[in-house]
């Protein structure tokens, strides 16, 4: 489950999930919901496997989102669904989607970068909470 929250110049994403794997997958969905108007228009014809090392959960979330954003900006890949396994020393994620096709995809915001400002990954009584501000 994710929502956006107000930040004057940019945009905040708040994600809640029952476990860390889902939290990371939903954070990626939240990112692509900023990039494209209607994510149901993305076909899942390609899969990208991503491995990231690191033991700091906040940096790990940051690097995961940053990697996906890179593939969007440099290779024009849009992703719709994500599976993530977070380990104490890193993560393995797979992202499914396709290359941008302007006749079918209406793009929304340009996300310049994921920021460290106010970046949080925390355990809560009901599961996990993450907050991240993206630079628009």
């Amino acid at each position: 489950m994710y929502e956006t929250f107000e930040h004057t110049a940019d945009l905040g994403l708040r994600i809640r999930a029952k476990d860390l794997d889902t939290l990371f997958a939903e954070a990626a969905e939240a990112l692509f919901s900023v990039l494209i108007e209607d994510k149901t228009t993305i076909a899942e014809s390609r899969t990208l496997e991503i491995d990231i090392a690191g033991d700091d959960r906040e940096f790990l979330l940051f690097d995961w989102l940053k990697t996906l954003l890179y593939h969007f900006d440099a290779e024009h890949l849009l992703f719709r669904s994500f599976e993530v396994r977070v380990r104490p020393d890193g993560l393995h994620g797979s992202a499914r989607g396709e290359v941008v096709d302007r006749s079918r995809h209406e793009l929304s915001h340009e996300v310049k970068a994921i920021t460290y400002h106010g970046l949080r990954v925390e355990q809560t009584p009901d599961g996990w909470l993450a907050e991240v501000i993206v630079d628009i």
């Binding site: 956006t4 929250f5 107000e6 930040h7 004057t8 110049a9 940019d10 945009l11 905040g12 990039l35 108007e37 940096f59 690097d63 940053k66 890179y70 969007f72 900006d73 440099a74 290779e75 024009h76 941008v100 209406e106 793009l107 929304s108 915001h109 340009e110 310049k112 970068a113 994921i114 920021t115 460290y116 400002h117 106010g118 970046l119 949080r120 907050e131 501000i133 630079d135 628009i136």
Partner: protein
């Protein structure tokens, strides 16, 4: 971190300046000084921007004060509108957060010999053609493709390289801050990821607050300075606001990753991770500086190619080569940058690293870095406003050297968050409202237009009034938009 009001101290210094004393937080090395007005102070404390001014005062080697311009608003790490100068001889640091992701985001103004009466009958066709021919929006690639070798030259040489390819003139170079080329740029310090993001994006506008506008000179305040810039009332100009695109964002990202362990390594205590920094005289600091300079050169190339495309559209619509339309560059300024400059601090002249995060250099008349044709009037400063009201041309004044390390504001500054602006626009047609004001706007989405609607910004006139009164820069001309394209 949701939006919260600032509850710390804010003391009035004079008509245009408020202080956050360094006693506010343990760790602040200098005071915070915010240039604003009585009318804008209430808006200022609505979010955490003043807290960010205080946080920047933690940076090692910071000189005089952590400064903010009247268009200050909440950013990440640094506030937008923030200025900080550090002295490398006193352990001063360089901070990628003090430059921002969009390295050398900036503005350029192009004049013409067309007047409002000439353009009005063709305005719709002109805006449509600009929208078709100048790439705008998320993920849009341009018609200019550069391979790795060519990119390296763009990064090392800036628009000089484009002049060699007949995509610009020597006159363009003369009218660009730093002549569009920061020495010490090292293309090999820029990662492959950054090059991949930039290879197809040079000459594209991007999205967010970036724009290309057709404007009319609405009012001239300083005839002498306007004449030096060849501007006169009712003249048609083109203003372009964009930066270093994905290449610059990636350079900043790479630097922040490289600096993750730097605060610990160099014993620097920071209240916000986004303020990550390293001493100027460290391998990490030097690496970032070399890459940042290369990204800055790339940004100047981007604005050069955007201008070139706009010139071609005008030539096509008005049936004359752009040279005959005298579409000459007035000036190009950057407002996200760090530069090594000479300034006098406490009576001592020294070289400091001036970080300008949403702030514009505003050197006064006579300064050796002001190009010769403008040396008598001071450096032109281009201030974009919102798409419904106005933009400004100013010139730098001596007060900027005394108070703000040669710096003034950079724009209107946001007053509303993007989500609030969308809510505010519900049920309205912003494009129709703009049209009623005489502005034709073309954007890919209504949502984008809602987020960037005039009400989402402070009134740029109020911001300019403060820097004018504070003696940081002086009003030359006010422009109103008549055609807007955005991403």
């Amino acid at each position: 971190m949701a939006k919260e009001a600032y509850r710390g101290p804010l003391e009035r210094v004079d008509e245009c300046c408020w202080r956050i004393p360094k006693s506010y937080k343990q760790g602040m090395r200098v005071d915070g000084l915010i240039f604003t007005s009585e009318e804008m102070v209430d808006q200022l404390i609505k979010d955490q921007a003043p807290e960010q001014v205080a946080n920047v005062a933690f940076l090692p080697g910071i000189q005089h004060a952590s400064l903010a311009m009247p268009d200050i608003h909440w950013g990440y790490g640094f506030c937008i509108g923030g200025v900080a100068a550090t002295d490398p001889e006193e352990g001063g640091v360089i901070s990628p957060g003090g430059v921002g992701y969009d390295i050398n985001c900036g503005v350029r103004l192009v004049r013409s010999n067309l007047f409002y009466r000439d353009v009005k009958p063709h305005l719709r066709a002109l805006v449509e053609s600009l929208f078709r021919n100048v790439p705008t929006g998320v993920g849009r690639t341009g018609r200019f493709k550069f391979d790795k070798k060519e990119l390296a030259r763009l990064l090392g040489e800036g628009p000089d390289y484009l002049v060699g390819r007949e995509l610009g003139t020597l006159g363009d170079i003369d009218h660009t801050e730093a002549r569009g080329r920061l020495d010490g740029a090292d293309p090999t310090a820029v990662s492959d990821h950054a090059l991949n993001r930039g290879s197809e994006q040079c000459g594209t506008l991007g999205s967010g607050n970036h724009f290309l506008e057709v404007q009319v000179v609405d009012h001239v305040f300083d005839e002498e300075a306007a004449a030096a810039m060849n501007l006169e009332k009712d003249m048609i100009c083109v203003m372009i606001h964009s930066g270093s695109r994905g290449l610059g964002y990636q350079v900043c990202d790479d630097a922040l990753a490289r600096l993750r362990k730097a605060p610990e390594k160099y014993g620097i205590e920071l209240p916000d991770r986004q303020l990550a920094c390293a001493p100027v005289n460290s391998p990490e600091g030097q690496h970032y500086i070399a890459a940042m300079r290369a990204a800055a050169n790339f940004a100047w190339c981007n604005r050069q190619l955007l201008m070139q495309q706009a010139r071609e559209v005008f030539a096509d619509v008005f049936g004359e080569p752009w040279q005959r339309l005298q579409m000459n560059l007035v000036y190009d300024v950057c407002h996200n940058i760090a530069k090594l400059e000479e300034h006098t601090v406490d009576g001592k002249t020294k070289k400091v690293w001036v970080h300008r995060k949403g702030a514009t250099r505003a050197f006064p008349p006579g300064h050796p870095e002001v190009p010769s044709m403008y040396r008598k009037i001071g450096q032109p400063v281009i201030i974009p406003g919102d798409m419904g009201r106005a933009s400004w041309v100013l010139v730098g004044q001596p007060g900027s050297m005394e108070k703000t390390f040669g710096t003034t504001c950079h724009g209107a500054g946001r007053a509303m968050s993007r989500t609030a602006a969308i809510k505010d626009a519900a049920g309205r047609r912003i494009d129709k409202e703009l049209e009623a004001r005489g502005v034709i706007a073309r954007v890919p989405s209504h949502k984008g237009l809602a987020e960037e609607q005039p009400k989402a910004y402070k009134n740029v006139d109020d911001v300019v009034e403060v820097v004018h009164r504070a003696g940081l820069s002086r009003k030359v001309a006010r422009m109103r938009p008549i055609g807007v394209i955005k991403g």
